[in-house]
Structures are given as structure tokens and as C-alpha cells.
């Protein structure tokens, strides 16, 4: 999902997306805000669309910076602290730029029972990354999530948006090797 948004983001640097004349142009001159604007127009700037809007913004920018949060707050006429409170409540929002690749291990009940913790531990040691962080070389971000709703596939690992079911520590490491081209 983030891929399509990012592609759209790239094409947005062309002239297809124009910023609403009624809406103040973002001072940074970053055209990606036009994609957020498109979504905002679609939902008529409705305040109950906050979470949806944050998802779109995260898809477009990869993470939620203060600038982006403030932009969303202004557009929806919501207080910044409320937007910050909502965004930080949910695991799926992130406030740091992610690494080149993102690996999310589900640690929901079913996945936990099936040994998700071992997968997390092994990936963390093999790639020198803490949960919720990005490795020093910026190649891998490791995250955990609480139940992805695919418990039948437990334990579940999501690598760059692709769901891999029935994982094991060695299997997950092999997947990562394939994607990242081996551990340094």
C-alpha cells in the first residue's frame, strides 16, 4: 500500500496535482502535501476522518513528522495535542523515518503462543536492531504488532508490506536475507 502512495508521491512532483487555491500552500513547497489535500477534499475535511487522514499521510511521507501532524491538525481544525494523542495511541503510526526495509512481527496472542518472541529476538540480534528502531546502517526497521487478524497463519511476519505466514526464526532470517541480500 505504501508503495503505490510513494509512486503517486513521486509523480506528484510533476504538475498533475495542483494545490487548492483556497488552501494555503505548505511553506516547505513539498508537493506530497497535495496528496494529503486530495484525501482531505474527498472526506470534506471531516474531523472524524482524523485516523484515516493520518494513514494517508503516513503512506505518502513514510512517517508522521511534526510538520505533517500540524498540517493535518490545521486542515481538520483540531488541536495539535489531540492529533498527537490519537496518533501516538496506535502502534501503526510511526514518528521516525523508517529504514529501507520494514519487518513487522506479530506478537498477538496466537502468534505469541506459536513463538513470535523467538522470531523477534533472533531478528533483533542478527541485524543489531531493537524493536521499534532502525538498524544503525538504516537498512532494517523492526516492529511488532498486536494481532494482524491473520491468526490462522500464526506466527505472522510482514516484510515490506507482504504477509508471510507460518514463520520460524530461521525462516524469517532467510526471508530477510533474500530481501536485504544477506547479513553484513
Amino acid at each position: 500500500m505504501s508503495d503505490t502512495a510513494l509512486e503517486a508521491g513521486a509523480s506528484a512532483s510533476g504538475s498533475r496535482h495542483t494545490v487548492d487555491p483556497g488552501r494555503p500552500e505548505h511553506p516547505s513547497g513539498d508537493d506530497r502535501f497535495a496528496l494529503v489535500d486530495t484525501h482531505l477534499r474527498r472526506v470534506h475535511d471531516a474531523q472524524d476522518q482524523l485516523i484515516e487522514t493520518l494513514h494517508v499521510a503516513q503512506d505518502v511521507f513514510g512517517f508522521l513528522s511534526d510538520d505533517v501532524l500540524l498540517y493535518v491538525a490545521r486542515a481538520l481544525r483540531l488541536p495539535p495535542s489531540m492529533v498527537y494523542g490519537v496518533a501516538t495511541f496506535y502502534h501503526l503510526f510511526t514518528f521516525e523515518p523508517p529504514g529501507e526495509h520494514t519487518c513487522t512481527v506479530c506478537t498477538g496472542t496466537a502468534c505469541f503462543v506459536k513463538g513470535a518472541d523467538d522470531i523477534v529476538a533472533d531478528v533483533a540480534t542478527a541485524h543489531g536492531v531493537h524493536v521499534g528502531d532502525t538498524s544503525a546502517d538504516g537498512r532494517l526497521t523492526l516492529r511488532t504488532a498486536r494481532c494482524l487478524g491473520s491468526c490462522g497463519l500464526a506466527p505472522v511476519v510482514v516484510l515490506d508490506g507482504v504477509v508471510h505466514g507460518h514463520q520460524s526464526p530461521s525462516g524469517a532470517l532467510a526471508l530477510l536475507d533474500g530481501e536485504l541480500g544477506g547479513v553484513r
Binding site: D66, L69, P79
Partner: protein
Amino acid sequence: MAERVPTVPITIDGVEMEATAGETVLQCARRHGVDIPSLCFLEGLSPVGGCRLCVVEVAEDLRLRPACATTVTSDMEVTTQSSRLRSYRRSILELLFAEGNHVCAVCVSNGACELQDVAVRCGMDHVRYELQAPRRRVDASHPRYVFDPNRCILCTRCVRVCDEIEGAHVWDVAHRGHGAELVTDLHRPWGESTSCTWCGKCVASCPTGALSHQGSSVGEMRHTPDMIAWLVAARRREWTEREARR
């Protein structure tokens, strides 16, 4: 002529009384001089039922009810004191004390703290849980006020008073569970907040030493939470319109 407010009969701790229709069990009890401990409730603000200190038993109801967020119903039978309620309240208080750094001897609110008062009244003399002793950064960036999250019990009175009465919504709760904390704007220093009007109602409402005036030292801080109900009455034009009706 004053309109007649409809009343409903209710029983609190075996005493029959008239409750005003629409009021909460806590409001009715307090009007009749029955003391139910509370922390997150503040007259004038919407109740959130968050701290659970005001829980009461209602006859024929297995669940405990927060008195601050339970509306009276006709012939309701409420019990505000029982060994079960006392032990729950003590546990809640112990958990609050264990979670933050509530060291009264060095607190600006020592001697005038609602948490301290309620702990004394509920007979909480020690904490059975392991003290978390968190290290939370104090925000003294505001020219007038100081926020010490170590003393914060997340009652959200400041959040509500700022949102509902001042209309600025500077404060909110960020993150969740054990990591939950109060933030101003986008978690920036309070002194840099562009939404804060410096009105001080959050400080007035704080039940502990979490929000205080710059320069207060140990035991010097006096909060004025009662002023909130007055402000609310004034904003409803309760006084001026009564004058006009005469």
C-alpha cells in the same frame, strides 16, 4: 417564579433522600453531606469515570458503579462504604502512589493535595506494590507555570478544563497504558506552546503537585479547583439572567 425541578427518591447508605432528576450519585451524595472519595471528578467539568475511586455498590447490580458518572434513578439503593469498596479504593490509591513519584515531603502541594488527603481519608498507610520510581522530565519552560509529570495521576482535569472551559485544548494524553503521559501541543515544551492562553485554569484544577506556579517551593502551592464550577455558572449566565428575570 422558580421552576420546580423534578426529584426522584433514592437511598444512600440506608438514608432516604430526594435526588434532583439528572444529577449523578456523587452530586446527590455530596449535597446531602455523604462523603464519597473522588479524584478525577471536578464540579463543572464533564465526568470521565477514570480514577474509579468513587465506586459505589448499587442494589441488584453486580457491577460497581462510578458515582461521578452514574445518573440517579428512582428508588436506587446505593452503598458508599463497605469492606469491599474500602479495599478497592485503597488498592487504587496504592497503585497511583506506586506508579509516580509521590514523595509528599518534597512536594509543592504538601498539605494541600487531594491525592494526599484522599489517601489519609481512605486509610492508605503503606504501598504494597513495587514503587516504579519513574524518571520523568519536569517541564519548567512556561514563564508562569511548571509541569512535573512525576506527580501526575492522569486524572485529565487539566485536559478537560482547557478544552471545555478555556476552549484552547493545549493538553492531551499521548501514548497508552504504562507509557501514557500528558503533552502540550505536539509534545513540545509548554513554554513554546502557541495554543496556551496562560489562563492558569489547568493549574487551578490540578489535584496534586503536577501543575504549579513558577517559584512555589515545598508545601507552598495552593490549587483552586472550586473556581471552575463558578466559571461554569457564570458562563451559563446564571447570575446575570437571574437578575434579568426579576
